[in-house]
């Protein structure tokens, strides 16, 4: 039947291990002929094109709304100068992260595109760690104190969400809703963290993971909308000269994640020791 007696290269992993079994190679060829994919009907393409256009239009419309709501750069600078100081209260920077920030700063002004790229690379690293943990172990207590990985994720997401909300408000309206502390933000850090962890214990793991992804997407969105000048000009924001705003963002995103990453790795190491109970 087939013009050639050799199956295509893509089947080498099936045919090669079987040596010179020509009959088996023939069967691979027959199956390749009988089961090869065929073009989808044109109506499938037409329907998908319509759906995709609708999604693109929705995305564009959202971007236009955000753009229309934004203030002038001068207004943003003035407003931000008065409203981002609270971020200084959050100190997650370890020596390693601080050295990395200093190196980035020496390489020139930070751009939104570059910060976004750094955040995405770091998030892939974090996700690789979570994959190493596996969803089946994410609710085991005792990772950091009594907290599980799920509670840690909820904790990190809460702080990242604060950054997102603050930055969105600053970029879009020039006011910062997080400057006036209320609710959890008005509590001490320990009290706040305990409540966030307790709430997350009641939530399904899938919700906590989905929220983390959603907030990270929002963070990328607001970085994309943020003027580069706002990311770099510490003086305009009333921050110390060596702490440009992009450091505050990175610090409360991946800098914070790295702080807790060490606990997770130590827990993984402990639980992989011989005789360690995992139940």
């Amino acid at each position: 039947m087939p013009a050639s007696n050799t199956p295509p290269e893509r089947y080498a992993d099936l045919v090669d291990p079987l040596g010179n079994d020509s009959e088996l190679a023939q069967m691979v060829l027959r199956l390749d002929q009988a089961l090869q994919p065929r073009p989808a009907p044109s109506e499938v393409h037409a329907a998908f094109a319509q759906v995709l256009q609708a999604r693109i239009a929705a995305q564009t419309s959202q971007q236009q709304v955000e753009s229309a709501a934004a203030l002038s750069r001068r207004d943003v600078m003035k407003a931000a100068a008065a409203s981002m100081a609270w971020l200084l209260a959050l100190n997650h920077t370890g020596p390693e992260v601080a050295r990395e920030f200093a190196r980035f700063a020496e390489e020139g002004p930070m751009t939104g595109a570059r910060l976004s790229n750094i955040l995405q690379v770091e998030r892939r690293r974090w996700n690789a760690l979570l994959a190493e943990v596996g969803v089946e172990r994410m609710e085991e207590p005792g990772v950091e104190g009594a907290w599980s990985v799920k509670e840690l994720i909820a904790h990190l997401t809460w702080y990242e969400r604060r950054i997102v909300e603050s930055a969105q408000q600053i970029v879009n309206t020039g006011t910062d809703p997080t400057r006036v502390r209320s609710g959890l933000a008005a509590l001490s850090m320990d009290e706040r963290n305990e409540i966030i962890a307790a709430e997350s214990r009641q939530r399904p793991l899938a919700d906590v993971l989905a929220e983390a992804d959603q907030v990270f997407s929002q963070l990328l969105g607001v970085i994309a909308a943020c003027p580069d000048e706002l990311l770099n000009n510490a003086a305009v924001l009333g921050l110390p000269d060596d702490i440009p705003p992009w450091m505050r963002v990175a610090n409360n995103s991946y800098g914070h994640f790295r702080e807790h990453e060490a606990s997770i790795r130590a827990w993984l190491d402990r639980s992989s020791q011989p005789g360690e109970r995992r139940d």
Binding site: L14, E23, V44, F48, Q59, D213
Partner: protein
């Protein structure tokens, strides 16, 4: 140049840049780059759609059975709708596969549909509209049809899980690791399942069973 055209061209260039050079050996990393680009701009999902739509449709055509052409087309649309909805949540990981992700969605869609039909779709034969287009002479086309009919008959004798593994390999053109990921088994188990099926088919073909 009209703005839309310029935008589309920019998106195409961005997608090409994200995907790098195309080539089968780089398919997985290309896919990951395309996914990353699509997560930032939904219009850039189109190259992934174009890469997989025929294989998804053909897989679903097999799952939908001999008279299931319309159902397979509907299911294909559902698969890509679900993929667009899930796009923001897709996590790019080392060793992950966009192909396996898409075919898991397709497999779930087919299973949901079969459950809703409250029946098992009988495997009567490979649907006729999936037969290869004969570009050869009338004589070789006849031979080809006879051979295909024989392969169909032999496939019908296999159990459903073995048949699905073969469809994922020969129709969906997934790697053994991807087949394992779709079926929830190891790569080694996928290899054994397919190798065993090939031996069974070969023996039955020559025995005329």
């Amino acid at each position: 140049m009209p703005r839309n055209e310029q935008t589309n061209r920019n998106r195409e260039q961005t997608a090409q840049h994200a995907a790098g050079s195309s080539g089968e050996s780089n398919a997985v990393s290309d896919d990951a780059a395309l996914m990353l680009a699509a997560q930032r701009d939904i219009a850039l999902f189109e190259p992934l759609y174009a890469r997989y739509v025929d294989r998804i449709y053909s897989y679903l055509r097999m799952r939908a059975g001999r008279d299931g052409a319309d159902e397979a087309a509907d299911l294909t649309q559902q698969v890509f709708l679900r993929a667009l909805d899930a796009l923001p949540r897709y996590q790019i990981r080392a060793g992950g596969s966009v192909a396996a992700w898409l075919f898991r969605i397709a497999r779930n869609a087919a299973t949901d549909w079969q459950r809703s039909q409250r029946r098992t779709v009988p495997w009567e034969a490979v649907p006729e509209d999936l037969h290869p287009c004969a570009e050869d002479s009338a004589e070789s086309a006849t031979l080809r049809r006879d051979e295909i009919a024989e392969v169909q008959r032999l496939l019908a004798l296999l159990d459903a899980t073995t048949r699905e593994a073969l469809i994922l390999r020969f129709t969906a053109q997934l790697t053994l690791a991807e087949i394992g990921a779709v079926l929830g088994i190891s790569e080694d188990a996928a290899r054994k399942r397919i190798t065993r099926a090939l031996h069974t088919l070969k023996e039955r073909y020559h025995a005329g069973i």
